[in-house]
Symmetry: C2
C-alpha cells in the first residue's frame, strides 16, 4: 500500500493490496486515488497475486515479519580485516569473486573484464593485462559470484584471494559477511580501469591499507556499523551514493588508533583516507549483507534478500529461496554525467551495492540527502519522491534509520515482491556509471531502476512454491 | 521586511519598513498581514526609526551594503596557531582575555570566575584556585574583553597569554582574528569548572595540542574555514550548537598531517580530537570575527558587528562605532537540561560565540540542522521557524551558506538594528547552558533570545550620530 509521507499525508497509489487486505487505517486524508490495473492485467500474474494476497497471505505475512525483524534488528559489527582466502568460504587460489549473478567470460561487460584483468595481474597470475586476458579467456581463472560466498563487491569489482576484506558479523544470526576495502576515486579497477595505477592501488590495499587497517580495527574494538550509519543519515548520507559523513564519523572514531600507526604506512594510509569520501561504502555493504544472510534463511517470504548486477544481467532472490530471477541489466537513468559523457557512452547498471537498498539505505534514504537530490532534479522534494516510491513497495519502516526531514519517520525496509509486481514500481538504486567500452572509468552517477521482469519471475516462483 | 520562506511563500509580518520603503515586489502571496505598532509605540524610538528609514536611509543603506558585502564575501583562512602573547595585539603578561563586554571582578558571574581562576593557575601565577582568587580579587590580573583584542572566546572562557590561539586572516581586509582551541567536553574551564582536570586540560592545550596542531596546520597549508562550513551546513551543522560534520571534515582534510605526528603527542591529540565534536566551534568563531573586524570599519551602518555576553551583561556594537550598548544578560530559553537541572540552576547567557549569528551561522542556519531542531521543539519545522525569525531581522541572505531544506536559499546575514527595533524581534543564539553556582559545568543547551534594550540604545545612538 502506498501511503504519502507525513507532511503531505495523502495516499498516492492504491492497487490490489488495498482491496485484498481490506481497508486499513490511513495515515491521513486520501486526496487522490490513482488505481492502476495490477500487474498490467497479466492474468497469470494477477492469479498469482490473488493467491499470495489471499489464501497464501498468512504464510507470506508471517515469513515476511520474521525477515523484516532480521533486516531491521540485526546488529552488524566490523571486527576484522583479513585476506579473502583466509576467511571467505569457498575461495581458493585462482578464484575471482565478481559482482552480480554468475557469468561466463564471453558475457562479461567491458569494465568488469578490465577489472578482472587488473585483479589477475595484482594477484601475480599474469605479468600484464594481455596475459591476464588470455588466462581469463582460457578458463584458467574461476569466476564466482561474490554474493554466493557471503561477499558483496561494489561497481565493477573483481577480487582475488589475496584481497583484504572486511569481516562483519551479525551476532544474532550469527551470520558473517565480507566486502573489499573501497578502492577510492580515480584510476581504480572497480571503475573498470586496468592501468598500472589501478593495479598498483590493488597492491596498496593488499600490502599497506589492509594490514594497517586490520591493526587499527582490532585495536579500536568492534565497530557498530549501523550506529554510525544512523548518524550519517542525519548528516545527509544515503550511505550508497554518498557516504561522506559516515566515512568522516568512522575516521574520527578511529583517530586515536590511526594516529598511532606512524611511519610510511601511516602517511600513505592518511593520504588514501583523506581522498576517499566513499570509504564507508563497502563497510555498509558488508553490514547489509550480514543481515540479508540472516534474513534469507526464512522460508516462504516475498521479501527480496539478494539484488545484484554484473553489468550484463540483473538478478534477485527472495528470502527462503536459492533461485535467482535474472534479466538484462538496465541502464542508469536520472543521471548526471561528466563533460562529454552521456547515455551512449555508459555501461549498464553494475555492482552488488544494491544490497543497501534492501535494508533501508541508498534509495530508501534519499529524502534526507542533499547530495542525492542533485541527481534527482535538484530539490529536496525530488529526493523525497524517491523515498516515497520505495515506501510504496516496502513492507516496513526502519526503526533505526530515521529521516529528520520526514519528522523522524524510518526509511522503507524490505522490498515486497508482491507490491513491486502489483504496482509496477521497482526499486530505485543510487549508483555510479562507468564507461561502456574505453576503460576511462566513471562517467557519471545516477539512479537505476530495477527491471520488472525478474520480480515477476520471482513472484511466480514464490506462488508455485507455496502452492506446491 | 519579513518575508516567509519559499515553500510557504507568505509575508509573515509587516511593519514600519513596509510603508517607509514603499511596497516592493513580494516573494509570494500575502496571506496575512500582522501589523504591529513599531517599537511598541515609543515615540522617541519611532521618531528615530522614521529618520533612519527616511532622510537618513540613503546613508544607512549604502553603509549597510558595504558591511553586508564584507560579511558575506570575506574569505577567512586559518594559517597558524600561536601563543596569544605572541600574536594577539595588546596582550601582555598578567592579562586574561574574557568573553563579553568589559567587566570588573566583583561583577563576574560564578562560572566565569571559576574559569578565570583555572586560567590563572594554568599560567603559573598562582599555585591553586584559592590563591588565584586572591590575585583576581586584588586586581593583580588585568581583565580585558577578548572582543577588543580581535579575539573571540566561547562560553565562560578566559585565556591567559600562553594559551594557543588560532590565527585566521581575511586577506581582503586584511583583518586577522584569534580564538582559543576548543577545550572539549567534560571537566573544562570554558564550562565554568576549575578542577585539577580542567586546569590540566588548559596545560594540555598549551603544551601538546597547540604546538602539534600548529605543525599540522602549517604543513597542510591555509584552510578555507567557510568552505568547510558550507559543506557542514549541508550535513546538518548550524556551526554553533552543532559542529560535528565540519569538525569531521576538517579532521579528514588534515588526516595525512595528523597521521604524521606520531609518538605520545599523536596518541594524546588523537584521543582529544576523537572525543571533541565541537572542535570546529572556535575555528568558525575566529573566522567570523575576521569578517566582523573588516565590516566594523564601515561608518554609518545599522548592521550589528559585535554581539557578546559575559554571563552578567549582554553587549552589542554597530559597524562604524566603538560604542557598546549594554544590558543585562538574558536567561537561555527553549532549552533542554541534564537530569536534575533547570532554569533555577542555570547561569545566564554567556560567551562570544554569538559572533557566528552575525555572519549567517548558528541561529540563521537552524533550519538545516536536525540536532538544533531537537532544542526547538523537535521537528524540522520548528528549526525552520528559528531561521525565519532571523530572516525577518537580517538585511541579506548568504551567498555561500545555503540551506538544502529551503531549496538552496542562503542563511540570513547582517542583523539590521532598524528591523530588530521595529519588529521587536531580536536574534536567537544557539548556545550551551552552565550551572549558575556550583561549578559543575554544563547543565544543558538551548536558544537565547538577545535582549531588546541594547538594540534600542544602539539605534538611538546611530540616529544621534547621523543627525549630528
Amino acid at each position: 500500500m502506498a501511503v504519502g509521507l507525513p507532511t503531505e499525508a495523502k495516499v498516492v497509489n492504491i492497487g490490489l493490496s488495498w482491496f485484498a487486505e481490506s481497508i486499513r487505517a490511513q495515515g491521513g486524508d486520501v486526496e487522490h486515488v490513482d488505481w492502476r490495473i495490477p500487474a498490467d492485467g497479466d492474468h497469470v500474474v494477477v492469479a498469482a497475486l490473488t493467491r499470495l494476497y489471499g489464501p497464501a497471505s498468512g504464510r507470506v505475512e508471517s515469513a515476511n515479519a520474521e525477515v523484516l525483524r532480521r533486516l531491521d534488528r540485526g546488529v552488524a559489527l566490523l571486527h576484522d580485516i583479513r585476506p579473502a582466502i583466509d576467511v571467505v568460504p569457498g575461495v581458493t587460489d585462482r578464484t575471482l569473486l565478481h559482482c552480480g549473478p554468475a557469468i561466463d567470460w564471453p558475457d562479461v561487460c567491458d569494465p568488469l573484464r578490465r577489472s578482472m584483468r587488473a585483479a589477475v595481474v595484482a594477484e601475480g597470475w599474469a605479468p600484464d593485462v594481455e596475459h591476464a586476458d588470455r588466462l581469463l579467456a582460457g578458463g584458467e581463472v574461476t569466476l564466482a559470484p561474490a554474493n554466493l560466498h557471503a561477499t558483496v563487491v561494489p561497481m565493477a569489482s573483481a577480487i582475488g584471494p589475496s584481497a583484504p576484506v572486511y569481516v562483519v558479523t551479525n551476532a544474532d544470526g550469527p551470520t558473517t559477511a565480507f566486502a573489499p576495502i573501497s578502492q577510492g576515486p580515480g584510476e581504480v579497477a572497480w571503475f573498470g580501469r586496468e592501468t598500472p595505477a589501478a593495479i598498483e592501488r590493488l597492491r596498496f590495499l593488499r600490502d599497506v591499507a589492509g594490514p594497517t587497517l586490520r591493526d587499527v580495527v582490532r585495536a579500536a574494538g568492534p565497530i557498530d556499523v549501523f550506529s554510525l550509519a544512523t548518524q550519517g543519515i542525519h548528516m545527509g548520507d544515503d550511505l550508497h551514493m554518498r557516504t561522506q559523513a559516515t566515512t568522516n564519523l568512522l575516521i574520527r572514531t578511529l583517530l586515536p588508533q590511526l594516529m598511532d600507526v606512524g611511519g610510511r604506512a601511516g602517511r600513505e594510509l592518511g593520504r588514501f583516507l583523506a581522498g576517499n569520501h566513499l570509504f564507508f561504502l563497502t563497510i555498509a555493504m558488508a553490514a547489509a549483507k550480514s543481515l540479508t544472510l540472516w534474513a534469507e534463511q526464512v522460508p516462504d517470504s516475498g521479501i527480496v534478500t539478494t539484488m545484484a548486477r554484473n553489468g550484463t544481467t540483473f538478478g534477485i532472490r527472495l528470502a527462503g529461496s536459492q533461485r535467482w530471477s535474472i534479466t538484462d541489466a538496465p541502464p542508469v537513468q536520472d543521471a548526471l554525467y561528466y563533460a562529454g559523457q552521456g547515455p551512449e557512452t555508459s555501461a549498464k547498471d553494475i555492482g552488488d551495492s544494491a544490497v543497501l537498498e534492501l535494508v533501508g539505505l541508498g534509495g530508501p534514504a534519499a529524502a534526507g540527502s542533499p547530495a542525492v537530490a542533485a541527481f534527482l532534479g535538484g530539490t529536496m522534494a525530488d529526493a523525497r519522491r524517491a523515498t516515497e516510491q520505495m515506501v510504496a513497495i516496502c513492507a516496513a519502516e526502519s526503526s533505526r534509520f530515521t529521516l529528520p526531514v520526514l519528522d523522524g519517520r524510518g526509511t522503507p525496509v524490505g522490498v515486497d515482491v508482491r507490491k513491486v509486481v502489483e504496482l509496477g514500481i521497482t526499486p530505485k538504486i543510487n549508483t555510479g556509471i562507468l564507461h561502456a567500452s574505453d576503460g576511462s572509468g566513471q562517467v557519471g552517477a545516477g539512479v537505476a531502476t530495477a527491471p520488472p521482469a525478474c520480480f515477476v519471475d520471482a513472484l511466480l516462483d514464490l506462488d508455485r512454491r507455496l502452492s506446491g
